[in-house]
Amino acid sequence: MRAYLLRRLWQSAVTLVGVSVLVFVILRVIPGDPAKMLLPEGAPQAAVEALNRHLGLREPLWIQYALFVRSVVRGDFGQSFQYRAPALRIVIERVPATIQLALTAMALTVLAGVPLGILAAVRQRTGWDYAGTVIAVLGQSLPNFWLGIMLVLLFGVTLRWLPTSGFGGWPSLVLPSVTLAAFPTALVARLTRSSLLEILGQEYIRTGRAKGLGEPRVVLRHALRNAMIPLLTVLGLQIGTLLGGAVITESIFAWPGMGKLVVDAIFFRDFPVVQTILILSATLFVVINLLVDLLYTILDPRIRYG
């Protein structure tokens, strides 16, 4: 257990170092001459050169990388070109909105996906099962940007029930979170169904039924708990999907979160903000998946990694 913990921690650390190298290469090495982008067009060559020197861009790459890591570790992600303020502060201000949206979508995913999967599994090869499969396949095929627009068209423009953009109160949360939740809900429903079906065929389930346990107790207490383990991995990985989906969903609904910020920042070529968001979201992903892996050992006492 201890060895496993240490190994996973080491792997996560290596991944994070890789994340920093990748971000450094994409946003610092490939763009070439940031000074030219910072200065107004037609600035004299001497000014470009001076700024490059000032930013440390004439140093060898590995020194630039070391400086970059040092400032990131200190929490200094540079100044946002667009807002003229520390990039980290700009990003952090937008985090709560994204978290609110992602958590609501995650709750919807679990509350809709798991029961849908259970229903399809216990009523296998009936209308319920086929209807559930169709919903799940559609949920995985409708692009979320289109689904969002169609929801706006139906509930915002035609029926006028819900606000179509902006931030404030639960009504404005409904359409974006449904849009964001559609894909993971479909995935979770399918996975719940298949992993539950596999477990319902096990011997101990037959034993449970034979000794006279009611069906709800067999399914919910004995089968579902065992089906939760693959589900948990997928939910952990869905953090990435949610963060990625937030980029598009927030842009559609003008939701003031990190996703909208990153798209706006790209158009302004505000690389410090882009870099902050990339590093933060990758770190979040790595940490959550590490936690999920550790949770396993608690959920399933059989797992004792050597």
């Binding site: 792997q11 290596v14 991944t15 890789g18 994340v19 190298v21 990748l22 994409i26 946003l27 490939i30 763009p31 396949v137 559609l138 995985q140 095929s141 409708l142 692009p143 940007f145 289109w146 627009i149 169609m150 706006v152 068209l153 423009v157 399918r190 996975l191 298949s194 992993s195 990435g240 999907t241 963060l243 990625g244 980029v247 598009i248 842009s251 559609i252 990153v262 798209v263 790209i266 158009f267 070529r269 882009v274 968001i277 990339l278 979201s281 990758a282 992903f285 790595v286």
Partner: protein, 275 residues
């Protein structure tokens, strides 16, 4: 083979996909309208049904929507297919070398895969596109880059198991070199999962390409790209619903077809991959 032809998901998915591909390929014969030529007298005409001048209506610049969807399909499908082929090529090559050579190369490649998977695909894609620009070539490159990891992991895992089998051992004893082992014994055994991954990934690539174009980071106007058409149609939701609806249906059809095909192939070809 017969099971492939009879599996309902494969049949339905294949038919949907084939229909979209054929319709896009035959675009110049199916409609004579120019997807790029604006006509201000004909702005925002609603769908008129088949046989009419503008069967699916016109957009905000009076361009024929049917022509734009069909020609847009050519772009989207070719971009996605190229990206899948590139991703599969690179991924398979990397997976084979990692599995066969092992050691440091293997460690390095697998860590690299972890690193890349830590970023939401679309964020990585928009960061790269922002830096290198929005040409079609850049778009294909970004899509391919986002996809190689899956193949590399799958092929590597397959190589690790196949490498230890008796028949590979036998072939090696008989003097077969690495290339021969790969070509005769290992690749044929990894073909099924590669095929399954490829058809599901085609759906992902179409989604990613149209998503990037939707955000303004993919194909650029006036190209008839599905994602771009959706973005343009968003501003006309209250008075011209068809602008955003039609390209969305096209994207959904392709994704649905490719997903069904992928799931069906998975069922038939590789029972172990079944979830």
């Amino acid at each position: 083979m017969r099971r492939v032809a009879r599996h309902p998901m494969i049949v339905v998915g294949g038919l949907i996909l084939a229909a979209v591909i054929v319709a896009s390929a035959a675009a110049p014969w199916l409609t004579r309208a120019d997807p790029l030529r604006p006509s201000f007298a004909q702005r925002l005409r609603p769908p008129q049904g088949f046989g009419a001048v503008h069967p699916l209506g016109t957009d905000n610049l009076g361009r024929d929507i049917l022509a734009r969807v069909l020609h847009g399909g050519r772009l989207s499908l070719v971009l996605a297919a190229t990206a899948v082929a590139l991703a599969a090529g690179v991924g398979v090559a990397v997976g084979l070398s990692a599995g066969l050579i092992g050691g440091r190369l293997d460690d390095f490649v697998m860590r690299l895969a972890d690193v890349q998977l830590a970023f939401p695909v679309i964020m990585l894609a928009i960061a790269i596109v922002a830096v290198i620009g929005t040409s079609a070539a850049a778009l294909v490159g970004v899509l391919a880059l986002s996809g190689w990891v899956l193949y590399a992991r799958t092929v590597r895992a397959a190589v690790l198991t196949i490498r230890e089998t008796d028949y590979v051992e036998a072939a090696r004893t008989l003097g077969a070199g690495n290339l021969r082992l790969i070509g005769r014994h290992i690749l044929p055994n990894t073909l099924a999962p590669i095929l399954v991954l490829g058809s599901s990934q085609f759906a992902t690539m179409v989604l990613l390409e149209s998503g990037l174009s939707f955000l303004g980071l993919g194909l650029q106007p006036p190209q008839p790209s599905w994602g771009l058409m959706l973005a343009e149609g968003r501003d006309y939701l209250s008075n011209a619903w068809w602008l955003a609806t039609v390209p969305g249906i096209a994207i959904s059809l392709v994704v649905l077809g490719a997903n069904l095909l992928g799931d069906g192939l998975r069922d038939v070809l590789d029972p172990r991959l079944r979830q």
